[in-house]
């Protein structure tokens, strides 16, 4: 397993240097190309020379496994055995966000580690099955009737410094991510850096993921991180409360004691740690 630091965005290697021809095709290409070269040269004519050139190209892609035509068309018939994070860099969506939270790294690390659900960030890690710092957790993220199974496992942990995770092979959403906690602000605060790459699936699961992330995944991640900051700095997720609109309330009675008898009831119904991150993007 690669270390998390290597998940950092890096300039993609030039595509031409990559193998994009499958093994069987390479064998066929090499044999056919070699035969064409031999036959073309034996003709000792202009047409023969052209055939030999064509055969040379086929021979080249067979030997090197890299086809310039495939590259320009974006085709690959080679099995991609690169690490998931590299693959997702190329065909998935990669986002990075940093916030500064006015709490020490130990506290943030511990809270992040114990989060029941961070669907926008980690695809959700259920608290069950957490043993020895590694394990797979399952979250069924239910969005408008369709489900995306999004299984993640912790791939790397450094106490108070970083947590890395990736999706399991049978997950509907392929993803890798990491969060790092870097002390700053004279030791009072912490930079929280999240890097996340994921590949949205097709079909119903894809719809669910699209709904989860919205049109702007970077903004969604930003909102999740703000809620994390709010929870850590203030103890609560802030909320403007119920949408107030005119002429929907009753005006019956004005006795404060009766109206606000619930004054000491349990707080945090609409915005809770359990429902974190709770609210939808604002409608505007």
């Amino acid at each position: 397993m690669k270390t998390i630091q290597e998940h950092e965005p890096q300039r993609a290697k030039p595509d031409t240097a990559r193998m994009n021809v499958g093994t069987a095709e390479r064998v066929g290409s090499a044999i056919g190309g070699g035969a064409l070269v031999a036959y073309g040269l034996s003709r000792r004519s202009v047409g023969g020379a052209l055939l030999a050139l064509l055969g040379g190209a086929a021979l080249y892609r067979g030997v090197t496994g890299s086809c310039p035509a495939y590259t320009s068309l974006g085709i690959t018939t080679a099995a991609d055995d690169r690490p998931l994070e590299e693959q997702l860099k190329e065909r998935g969506i990669s986002i990075e966000k940093t916030i500064t939270i006015n709490r020490p790294p130990e506290e943030l690390y511990a809270s992040w580690r114990s989060l029941p659900a961070l669907p926008g960030v980690m695809g959700g890690l259920a608290p069950d099955g957490r043993t020895g710092g590694e394990g797979s957790r399952r979250l069924a993220e239910e969005t408008a009737g369709s489900r995306a199974q999004w299984e993640s496992m912790i791939t790397e942990e450094k106490q108070n410094e970083l947590i890395g995770w990736r999706s399991l092979p049978d997950a509907d959403v392929e993803s890798v991510g990491s969060v790092r906690f870097i002390p700053c602000n004279g030791g009072m605060g912490t930079e929280v850096k999240v890097a996340l790459s994921y590949s949205p699936p097709a079909g119903r699961a894809g719809d669910a993921v699209a709904k989860l992330f919205g049109k702007d995944p970077s903004r969604r991640l930003g909102e999740d991180l703000r809620r994390f900051q709010q929870k850590m700095e203030t103890g609560d997720i802030v909320s403007a409360g119920q949408r107030v609109s005119g002429n929907t309330g009753s005006d019956a009675g004005n006795e404060d004691a009766r109206r606000f008898a619930w004054g000491s009831r349990d707080s945090v119904e609409e915005a809770s740690w359990e429902s974190f991150p709770a609210s939808d993007p604002p409608a505007w």
Partner: protein
């Protein structure tokens, strides 16, 4: 409960809305005893904020009695008499820790939206559009106050509402406006606009050591108030040929040391640049009309200081950066860090050094709010400051 709701441009109505509820542990519910209409409410009334929604409860200057507290609110009890700062602040983020409470990192639930507009999000505000959080405001019978343990400011029973109501916004705003231009003994301070904030700024400028204050407006009763209550020299810009020349004459040819724009984005005036701004703002090519700001920059003495308590929201054209740069001006601006000033200003009220009630011209029940918005907008009936009693 009854509340003043925004329904569209120049359309506010008193409606029945659901009572507020405790949502977070640090919330409190306030039964409102006094609430005011602010000049900045007129920006919303006039439709200059695109993130207002039909039904939003207006109002951000209010006080009252605590009728319910969340379970984590240890500092407040039912029955406390409190004034509520219009900026909502958590008290624990890096900005609140520096007393920059109008820049609180945590109190705007729509922070991502505001960050798109401004780069980073300021604090949430009561009743001031969804860009600032979409919180229901205080022109209502009740209001929910988030982070009430930090915000709700207890005031003694013996002081009447009207003497402390303005601690919620315009008194601290007037004070910070004066403080922001770093007044030194002997300084001449020019204040554009003679609205409620300006009236209090004039008083605070003298308090902070100004030798002379010159106030500029065109509304006779407001100029009169600045003269009699504030002790300011006044310029009626409709009655002089050239405000800049007049100011120059009045300041020994050097210009005022400090210039305060207490008008903001909806400046009036008949100069060419203001007609240009008005035309562009009308077709939404420019969000703000910065006529006063341009004039203040032009008028300011070399090495002078500008303070902007007047609200700006978006973009302006023809900003005279050359004048500002080449005269070496200093600018300070922003929403008021209300929490920071409340204890000090309450002290001033209790010592009798400032009694802000002189600005109140209209007192009315909540039901009269729509008519008073219109009156305040048109400056009819000598309307300067409206206090509503729910």
């Amino acid at each position: 409960m009854k509340a003043v709701c925004w329904n569209g441009t120049t359309d506010v109505r008193v409606e029945n809305v659901p009572d507020p509820e405790i949502i977070n542990g640090r919330d409190a519910i306030i039964k409102i005893t006094s609430t005011a209409i602010c000049g900045s409410d007129l920006h919303l009334y006039n439709g200059y904020n695109p993130t207002m929604e039909k039904g939003d409860v207006l109002g951000h200057e209010f006080m009252g009695e605590v009728v319910a507290v969340g379970k984590e609110s240890v500092r407040l009890s039912v029955g406390d008499r409190v004034v509520i700062p219009f900026t909502i602040a958590c008290g624990s983020c890096v900005f609140c820790r520096q007393s920059l409470t109008s820049l609180c990192d945590n109190s705007n639930p729509n922070a991502e939206m505001a960050a798109k507009a401004f780069g980073y999000s300021p604090s949430g505000l009561f009743g001031y559009s969804h860009l600032f959080g979409g919180y229901a405001g205080g022109q209502a019978e009740y209001a929910r106050v988030p982070f009430a343990d930090v915000g709700a400011f207890k005031v003694p029973e013996e002081i009447p509402d009207e003497k402390v109501l303005f601690l919620s916004d315009i008194f601290p705003t007037g004070y910070m406006a004066a403080e922001n231009c770093d007044i030194r003994p002997g300084d001449i301070v020019a204040v554009w606009g003679c609205g409620p904030v300006a009236q209090l700024t004039i008083k605070c400028a003298y308090l902070l050591g100004a030798e002379r204050v010159i106030a500029i407006d065109n509304v006779p009763e407001r100029l009169e108030m600045a003269r009699t209550h504030g002790g300011a020299e006044v310029i009626n810009y409709d009655e002089v040929d050239d405000v800049l020349e007049t100011l120059k004459e009045m300041t020994g040819g050097l210009g005022p040391h400090c210039c305060i724009d207490a008008v903001g984005m909806e400046a009036h005036g008949s100069s060419l640049d203001n007609i240009y701004d008005w035309a562009k703002q009308t077709v939404r090519l420019e969000t703000d009309r910065p006529h006063v700001l341009r004039q203040a920059i032009q008028a300011c003495r070399k090495g002078g200081r500008l303070s902007l308590p007047g609200v700006y929201s978006g973009f302006i054209d023809k900003f005279p950066i050359g004048a500002a740069f080449n005269k070496g001006l200093t600018f300070k601006m922003g929403q008021t860090h209300v929490h920071r000033y409340m204890p000090l200003l309450l002290d001033l009220v209790q010592q009798g050094k400032i009694d802000p009630t002189f600005i109140i011209t209209h007192r009315a029940p909540l039901d009269d709010a729509p008519a008073l918005y219109e009156k305040f907008k048109k400056k009819e009936d000598n309307c300067i400051k409206v206090v509503l009693k729910p």
